[in-house]
């Protein structure tokens, strides 16, 4: 198996992707292709005493930054960025999957327009696997798509179920529709029509609407929503966790007694922080793309990149894309809305 890794994606690039890729190569025995400026990769590896033995580099002199407009990923001007080179390499059969911690929007747009969709899929979705009070859940979509029709959400539900089952090991994942109340008639027209559609999709385990409050409390294994709503949920989720950790830090540093308490629970609090950190959990596959594309968090360190590669290996090995293609036969076809 050959995993392509964007050496210049994320806040800690290129060191974190290079390290993570080397670690994954050693730990999982997969071939790794790094995309990015070859001389810089060689220099960083040498400065950090890292051996690139067994790692292939595909030269890409430019970097796609977070300030670049995501849609320009398909432009000629960005064709030599480490992300575009990686995506095109994947498309042309140069590897089995692509992992990047770079610009999320660009990765979604690149998956959609460079690698292309699975035939019959309306939209690709950015689908992070996130922590909840009990274990994990998938939020699909959370950032790529704003204006959607119910059929696209039905496909998200199906793709999310397959991924959570095949890659994350959930049996018969519970699918919930993110909504402002649990009753069938709740929400806007998109929610109401999607509810009806999901209810009548036998291949998924639809449990009804799930409210915001129940999402972090293990209300569903796959939470289905449009990208605007999903992005607001995802980022509010992160923000509240950060705000609370900040307040807890304030508690523990208040006085001698609380500092003593901090010393007693330091290990456990670190574990807690880790358990709320979605980097550690499962990253975010870009589902609906014709080949596996995987987004690692922008602030990824070497370990996060290694984890992302590990999950991506499962994504490839369990042939999620073949299962999605197969499952599409069970839900009525619609014309493509995308492009």
């Amino acid at each position: 198996m050959k995993i392509i890794v964007d050496a210049f994606g994320g806040d800690n690039a290129p060191l974190a992707p290079i390290c993570g890729a080397i670690e994954a190569h050693a730990a999982y025995g997969v071939d790794i292709i790094l995309t990015g400026d070859e001389s810089v990769i060689q220099k960083v590896a040498s400065e950090n005493n890292l051996s690139l033995n067994g790692i292939t580099i595909v030269h890409a002199p430019d970097v796609f930054t977070n300030d670049d407009q995501p849609s320009t990923i398909r432009s000629k001007a960005k064709a030599n960025t480490s992300m575009a080179v990686g995506l095109n390499l994947l498309k042309n059969g140069g590897g089995d999957a692509f992992v990047s911690a770079g610009n999320s929007g660009a990765l979604g747009a690149g998956a959609m327009f460079l690698v292309k969709r699975i035939k019959g899929i309306q939209r690709v979705a950015f689908a992070p696997v996130m922590p909840n009070s009990e274990s994990y859940f998938m939020l699909i979509d959370s950032g790529v798509n704003t204006d959607l029709r119910p059929k696209a959400l039905q496909q998200f539900a199906m793709m999310g179920s397959i991924y959570m089952n095949k890659v994350m090991g959930f049996k018969n994942p519970r699918v919930g529709l993110a909504n402002v109340g649990t009753e069938e008639h709740k929400g806007d027209a998109l929610r109401q029509e999607t509810y009806t559609l999901l209810k009548n999709t036998p291949s998924i385990n639809f449990i009804g609407n799930v409210e915001g409050r129940d999402i972090p409390l293990d209300g569903a294994d796959v939470v289905v929503c449009d990208g605007f709503t999903g992005n607001m949920i995802l980022k509010t989720y992160e923000g509240v966790a950060i705000a609370m950790m900040k307040k807890i830090k304030g508690v523990f540093t208040k006085n001698f007694k609380t500092k003593l308490a901090a010393a007693c629970v330091m290990k456990e609090m670190k574990e807690l922080k880790k358990s709320m950190d979605y980097d550690e959990v499962g990253g975010a596959p870009v589902l609906g793309c014709a080949k596996p594309v995987f987004k690692a968090h922008g602030s990824s360190n070497a370990k996060t990149i290694r984890n992302a590669i590990r999950v991506t290996i499962e994504y490839v090995k369990n042939d999620v894309i073949a299962s999605i293609t197969e499952a599409l036969k069970d839900i009525p076809e619609t014309e493509n809305e995308g492009e």
Copy 2:
């Protein structure tokens, strides 16, 4: 000043509203009218040794429950509920404001259709004041409206600014538009058009888009959004805080050492929990209604109700509604979309 209080709203009714009203009467010297079943109120007061001296009861034999359809608040069948009686009393000049911990949707619908809107306001908004990492912010709208035009969001921004200034004491409140990115072009058509409108509204301090992640981290004092998005943010916010407190509890009860730590920080952790609890902060005015309507949290206890009454007194005293009416002159008129 006369405050009408729904004695049968919320999970702890009627005891909590009765107690809270009595406490507020004593503490703030305002007249209180309780709406609800008179004999039950008398019985509960007597059983709990509470004196109803100085409290007026307006009899309302029925209760509007959380299972009732919010829109039925205007129906004949629900006309004798403590909520509808309170709203109609307010409308007819029987009091200066109405406070309820009952069904949020019904209170919003009742404010809109029984008490009616301020002339020129398109929609009333449910606008909770919530905790963030530094102090408070208002989320407007968070539950009443789903399909909105930009003008309604502009009015929300204006009303939220006035309330946060006059009632919560924020100087020149920073208004942010909840969106999936900070750049002007981000989000769907509603967000893009609203951005342009807010940018060109000199009477508010518009600071641009605010992402979900920055909302809990004091990104803005007034966060403007449609009701669907706001409800998802509000409830995710609550859910993550609950999930984290649950995990922290797990940490502290793990073993002897962590239990010792818990004993050292118990007081501080309780304060932390309180600081993340929006009951304690400021409740939720229903803005845009022609008279002050205020929502206390469904799980309100006596203290929360008393706090809600205290905030409502400020709402009346500072004549927020006159300020909103005045400010409407500064933003171009539009036809009413509501009803």
